[in-house]
C-alpha cells in the first residue's frame, strides 16, 4: 500500500523524439525526452501507444536501451517486424520532432543494478540484446568492476545490434568479455562461434558454476528456453537465472 502511494499511477506522457539512430537494416534507436521521467533501472521497459486520426489506438511494450544515467532521456531500440503494426511506424515513419506517447518504466524483476554484484552473465538472442545493453551501459557509466560476460547470438554479422559499441566496451574493459555467435552466415575470417547456442557453448562461456553468476537471458522463446534449460542442466541455480522472452513457441 505504502509503495503504491509513493509510486502513484504510471501516467501516459508525450515524449519528443530528440534523436534517431539506425542500428542495423531492421533495428533503430529512438531517443525520447519525456517531460516527467521518474528514472528507471537497467532492464525495464515502457509501453508505447499510437493513436490514429479516427482515435484507433495500438499499444506495445519496448525495452529501454539507455542506462539510468542518461535520464531524463530515454532510448528505445525497436526492431522492425515485417508483419508488425507498430514497429514499422516506429522504425520508418517516426522522426525527430515528433511526439510519442509512452508510460513507464515497467517491470521490477528483470533488472540489474551495479550494487547487485555478479559476476554477470548476459545471454542475448537477436533484439533480446536491448535490455542487456542497458545493463552493460549502466555498468560502464557507473565504472563498475563487476566481471561481466555477454554471449550474443545473431543471424548474421550485419544484424548484430550495437556491434561497434560492444567492440569498444569490450576493448576498454578487461573485466568485460563479449562473445558472438552467428547462426546463419558469417564473414570470411570470422573467429567467433558460428552455430546456435547449446550446452557445450555455455559450458565454455558461462562462469564456473561455483562463482554463482547472476544471469539474464533475453530473446525469442525457443532461444531462451534452450539457454535456461542448458544452464540448469550444467548446475547453475534456477533462482539466479532471470529470463525475458518474446514471440510464440516454435518461432525462431
Amino acid at each position: 500500500m505504502e509503495r503504491r502511494t509513493l509510486l502513484g499511477r504510471l501516467s501516459w506522457q508525450l515524449g519528443e523524439v530528440v534523436a534517431t539512430h539506425p542500428e542495423t537494416a531492421r533495428a533503430k534507436s529512438i531517443t525520447l525526452a519525456p517531460p516527467n521521467w521518474r528514472g528507471h533501472r537497467a532492464g525495464q521497459h515502457v509501453d508505447v501507444r499510437l493513436t490514429a486520426e479516427d482515435g484507433y489506438q495500438a499499444e506495445r511494450s519496448y525495452s529501454i536501451a539507455s542506462p539510468p544515467e542518461e535520464a531524463p532521456r530515454v532510448t528505445l531500440t525497436v526492431e522492425r517486424l515485417d508483419d508488425g503494426e507498430v514497429s514499422p511506424y516506429l522504425t520508418e515513419e517516426l522522426r525527430v520532432g515528433d511526439k510519442l506517447e509512452l508510460r513507464g518504466p515497467i517491470g521490477g524483476y528483470f533488472v540489474w543494478e551495479a550494487r547487485m554484484g555478479g559476476p554477470l552473465l548476459l545471454i542475448a538472442g537477436g533484439s533480446g540484446i536491448v535490455p542487456l545493453m542497458a545493463m552493460l551501459r549502466h555498468r560502464a557509466a557507473t565504472g563498475s568492476s563487476v566481471p561481466a560476460r555477454l554471449l550474443y547470438s545473431s543471424r548474421t554479422f550485419e544484424e548484430v545490434i550495437y556491434r561497434e559499441e560492444l567492440e569498444r566496451l569490450d576493448e576498454a574493459d578487461r573485466m568485460l568479455e563479449v562473445v558472438h555467435t552467428l547462426t546463419r552466415a558469417h564473414p570470411p575470417g570470422w573467429t567467433g562461434y558460428a552455430r546456435r547456442i547449446n550446452t557445450q557453448m555455455l559450458r565454455e562461456v558461462a562462469w564456473p558454476v561455483e562463482q554463482r553468476p547472476l544471469t539474464f537471458i533475453c530473446g525469442p522463446t525457443p532461444f531462451v528456453e534452450t539457454a535456461a534449460a542448458s544452464l540448469v542442466e550444467l548446475g547453475y541455480e534456477p533462482g539466479r537465472i532471470k529470463t525475458e522472452r518474446f514471440g510464440p513457441t516454435g518461432e525462431t
Partner: protein, 203 residues
C-alpha cells in the same frame, strides 16, 4: 495531458468489428502462443507432483497426480489476455474447477495465494475463483500441457490478465488478509482485470 493527441502518420491496422469487440483495451490478437516466465522452466516428474490446499482451512488437502486425475473434469473454451498486450481467442483447456477442489475444505478465508514450482505466487480474491471462474488445467487443445506453457498443470483464470494463471501450480494457500504475489509486488496491478486495463500499480 495527452488528450486528443494524434500520432502523425499512424494509420494502424483496423480490426474486424467482431474481433475488436472481443479485444480488451490496448490488446492485439495473437495467433501463436507466446511464453512469458521469469526464470527457467521447472520439470517436476508426475510421480513427485502433488496439489495441495493449505492455510486457513479446517483440514489441509493433498492430491497426488493419479488422485487429481480422478476428480470431476470440465472442458473450457476461453479467450486469454496477457498484460504484455497479446490476446488469444478460443483456447481450449481441460481440468478441475477450483469450485470442485475448494468444496473439499471448510474455510472463512477471503483470498487465495496460488503457489508454483520455482517459487512463483499470485493472489486472487476467493470469490473470483469460484462458480466457474478458475480451473487447474492439465490439457491444452487436447494434448497434455507442455512444460513451457505451465505443464503438468497450471491455474487458469481467464477473466484476469494471464499472469494470474500461474504456471506449474502446486497448490493454493487460503488467507484472511490479501498479500501481493510475485508480479503484484513488482509493479503489476493487484487485481488485473483486462477490461478495466488494470495493468500496473495505480491503474
Amino acid at each position: 495531458m495527452s488528450e486528443g493527441f494524434i500520432s502523425r502518420g499512424f494509420r494502424g491496422r483496423r480490426k474486424p468489428s467482431d474481433e475488436s469487440r472481443r479485444l480488451p483495451p490496448g490488446q492485439y490478437l495473437e495467433r501463436g502462443f507466446p511464453v512469458l516466465s521469469a526464470g527457467p522452466t521447472p520439470h517436476t516428474p508426475l510421480a513427485s507432483w502433488d496439489f495441495s490446499i493449505v492455510g486457513e482451512v479446517d483440514q489441509p488437502r493433498r492430491w497426488s497426480w493419479d488422485e487429481f486425475r480422478t476428480l470431476p473434469r470440465e472442458t473450457v473454451a476461453k479467450d486469454i489476455h496477457c498484460v504484455t498486450k497479446w490476446s488469444k481467442f478460443d483456447t481450449h483447456w481441460e481440468g478441475v474447477s477450483l469450485g470442485t477442489l475448494l468444496a473439499q475444505v471448510e474455510t472463512s478465508a477471503n483470498y487465495v495465494i496460488a503457489f508454483s514450482d520455482g517459487g512463483y505466487t499470485t493472489n486472487l480474491p476467493l470469490e473470483e475463483v469460484l462458480n466457474g471462474q478458475a480451473w487447474i488445467v492439465d490439457t491444452y487443445e487436447g494434448q497434455p500441457l507442455e512444460p513451457q506453457h505451465g505443464g503438468p498443470a497450471r491455474l487458469l483464470v481467464p477473466h484476469l490478465y494471464f499472469w494470474k494463471s500461474a504456471k506449474w501450480v502446486r497448490g493454493l494457500r487460503l488467507v484472511d488478509q490479501d498479500e501481493p504475489g510475485f508480479w503484484e509486488s513488482l509493479g503489476y496491478n493487484n487485481h488485473g482485470d483486462p477490461w478495466k486495463e488494470e495493468r500496473y500499480w495505480g491503474d
